[in-house]
């Protein structure tokens, strides 16, 4: 393996893109346009949000709150005896919220009812909330408020909310990481696919194959080129996000770039894999919707995965962008290190290793199978 040959491929790919100004402009505009266009909220019916219910009062009244939460499709309620530190609990256990009803809730509630609005003592429910997906957070707030309303004759119930990450996270804040992943996935996959198919059609592939260049060098050359492009695209998304939408980034930008570039590597692998299935450029174009649609619809980018019909949800976990979204949101919104979001991190790593290994196998075959 020789560094200069990897760089030769990288330089060549970048030069080819440089000559194709339309693609170049597209690559820089796409992240900006996507960020602008999708800077609006989407909302499906959210269901199966995991919440923990801690009842420290244990009365008929609190029982009825639990029942009405359980009846609501939105929630997947787990009843717990006691939670020591709700914030720690959320981070560790993967729940979206902890709803805690403190002791004396019932007596305070009826006291308030009996004495009218004059008193300040009032039944209070503690809500500890993972805000990293604002749509889910809003749904939880509304669902809990509904459950409290259902109590009927009672006075107002106060819901005291603690946001896990300190600030209130807006939709747009959690949307930026998804846009980053989407743009990188599209550009890296589609352009790698097109470029390799074009090499096959034009015969330059054969020429590279009889040269001293190795498959690994060829793939790494592409990886380097698109890693660089992914980084620039992330900068564009962040620039528009911060400049126009004033997004808040709680985490480390450096980790975010690392994860985006990692995801780009997997996408290059995926593009290479797909190139094995296409002999001509028009065949390659057929694959584009296959990359785009699941990424947009199923990855939890526009609406949370909990808003996708239950039957389709397993498909979400076949879409690479699902893992990238989890990972990038954890890093950028929650301010975690990548390994503190194990599912997202592992998903992206598996994606990278699997596609790059398979790509290497596939390239060996396409080199030999012509005519």
């Amino acid at each position: 393996m020789k560094g200069y040959r990897i760089l030769a491929v990288t330089e060549r790919v970048l030069r080819q893109l440089w000559h194709d100004r339309r693609v170049l402009v597209f690559m820089l505009l796409l992240p900006a346009v996507a960020m602008l266009l999708f800077g609006y909220s989407f909302s499906g019916d959210i269901t199966d949000v995991r919440v923990a219910f801690v009842d420290e009062d244990r009365t008929d009244l609190t029982e009825s709150i639990l029942e009405s939460l359980q009846e609501d499709d939105v929630f997947d309620v787990t009843v717990l005896e006691h939670v020591e530190d709700p914030e720690r609990f959320l981070l560790d256990e993967g729940y979206q919220a902890v709803i805690r009803i403190p002791e004396k809730f019932t007596s305070l509630y009826y006291a308030h009812f009996a004495m009218g609005v004059a008193t300040s003592a009032q039944g209070t429910i503690d809500l500890t909330l993972d805000e990293s997906d604002p749509q889910i957070a809003t749904t939880i707030r509304m669902g809990l408020a509904d459950a409290a309303m259902d109590l009927g004759e009672g006075g107002p119930v106060e819901i005291e909310t603690r946001e896990l990450y300190g600030v209130e996270v807006r939709f747009i804040d959690s949307f930026a990481p998804a846009i980053m992943g989407l743009v990188v996935a599209l550009i890296s996959t589609v352009l790698t696919l097109l470029s390799i198919v074009r090499e096959k059609v034009d015969g330059t592939f054969s020429r590279v194959w009889v040269s001293p260049a190795r498959r690994a060098e060829f793939i790494l050359g592409y990886v380097l080129a698109f890693g660089l492009i992914a980084w620039v695209q992330s900068l564009v998304v962040l620039a528009v996000g911060i400049g126009v939408f004033d997004i808040v980034i709680n985490g480390s930008i450096l980790w975010a770039f690392t994860c985006v570039i990692l995801f780009a590597v997997g996408s290059v692998g995926l593009g290479t894999l797909m190139s094995a299935l296409a002999q001509t450029e028009s065949q390659a174009i057929v694959f584009f919707p296959l990359v785009i649609l699941p990424s947009v619809l199923l990855s939890g980018m526009m609406w949370p995965i909990q808003a996708i019909p239950r039957l389709l949800r397993p498909l979400s976990y076949l879409v690479p962008l699902t893992y990238s979204n989890r990972l990038l949101r954890a890093v950028m919104v929650k301010g975690l290190a990548p390994w503190e979001e194990p599912l997202g991190f592992a998903g992206v790593l598996v994606f990278v290793v699997l596609t790059i290994l398979l790509a290497s196998v596939v390239l060996r075959q396409s080199a030999g199978e012509r005519e």
């Binding site: 491929v9 000559h19 054969s206 001293p212």
Partner: protein, 262 residues
């Protein structure tokens, strides 16, 4: 450097694609310093034979050797020493002429300054001087083909495998290409090329006539002509057959045995 033995060898070389025998038990040996022309109609198996010799296609049976190395297993030992020009005008259409040469030079490990020097020489040789910064897809067919040949020559290989290098060129340009080939050959390069222009066989040192994956006749152009004349009963020099006649006469003679295997 100085290999003993032939530049290219095929021994009972066979490639099957499904039921089709693209190359069918073919044997030949091409010595260092030869210009050898594979002549035959398209579909005769010339491209497959060349691709097996440079390690791109794995033989179904038999062996292929390039500069002594078994192909494709041994291609790493000889990859710097041969140049291959595929039938497609295999250049990057969205790179300029100079950038194409830069890329191929770099993957052969040449320094940038050496590549610049070779680029100047080759553009001069191929009469592409003014086109260094022109994108390959803006070149004419002939220019693109000259660029493609330049890419194969860039790293100064000892042996050249050229697949239909003159296809689609006008007669004057074809002549010019052949002048290049002879010049390269005089400077010690071994050349194996394929063509379906029968009269180009005249310009080769040795010719192999290919039909249906087999070598039906082989020899110097003169020897082939004599052979054909003998078979067809022509004697006098005035009715010596041209290469087209030679091909027709020799293929007709080969038909019975070709039918036997099918």
């Amino acid at each position: 450097m100085a290999d003993r033995g032939p530049a290219f060898v095929a021994q009972s070389l066979t490639k099957r694609f499904g039921a089709l025998r693209a190359v069918d038990g073919l044997s030949f040996a091409i010595e260092l310093g030869e210009i050898y022309g594979l002549v035959g109609p398209s579909g005769a198996g010339k491209t497959t034979l060349i691709r097996m010799l440079c390690g791109l296609t794995e033989p179904t049976d038999g062996t292929a050797r390039l500069l002594g190395a078994p192909m494709p297993a041994g291609r790493r030992t000889v990859e710097h020493r041969f140049g291959y020009m595929p039938q497609e005008r295999a250049v990057y259409r969205d790179l300029t002429v100079a950038e194409n040469l830069l890329f191929f030079g770099r993957i052969y490990g040449m320094s940038r300054s050496r590549i610049r020097e070779r680029t100047r020489q080759l553009l001069d040789l191929m009469r592409l001087e003014g086109h260094a910064d022109q994108r390959a897809d803006r070149l004419s067919g002939g220019e693109k083909q000259r660029l493609s040949l330049a890419c194969a020559l860039l790293h100064e290989p000892d042996a050249l495998l050229l697949d239909e290098p003159t296809i689609g060129l006008d007669p004057a340009l074809r002549r010019e290409f052949w002048d290049h080939f002879h010049e390269l050959n005089e400077r010690g390069r071994t050349i194996l090329l394929s063509t379906h222009y029968l009269h180009e066989a005249e310009w080769c040192g040795r010719v192999g006539l290919m039909q249906r994956g087999r070598l039906i006749a082989e020899g110097t152009p003169d020897a082939l002509r004599r052979d054909a004349a003998r078979r067809s009963g022509r004697i006098g020099p005035e009715d010596a057959p041209d290469m087209e006649d030679v091909f027709l006469i020799l293929t007709a003679a080969a038909v019975p045995s070709a039918g036997g295997v099918g």
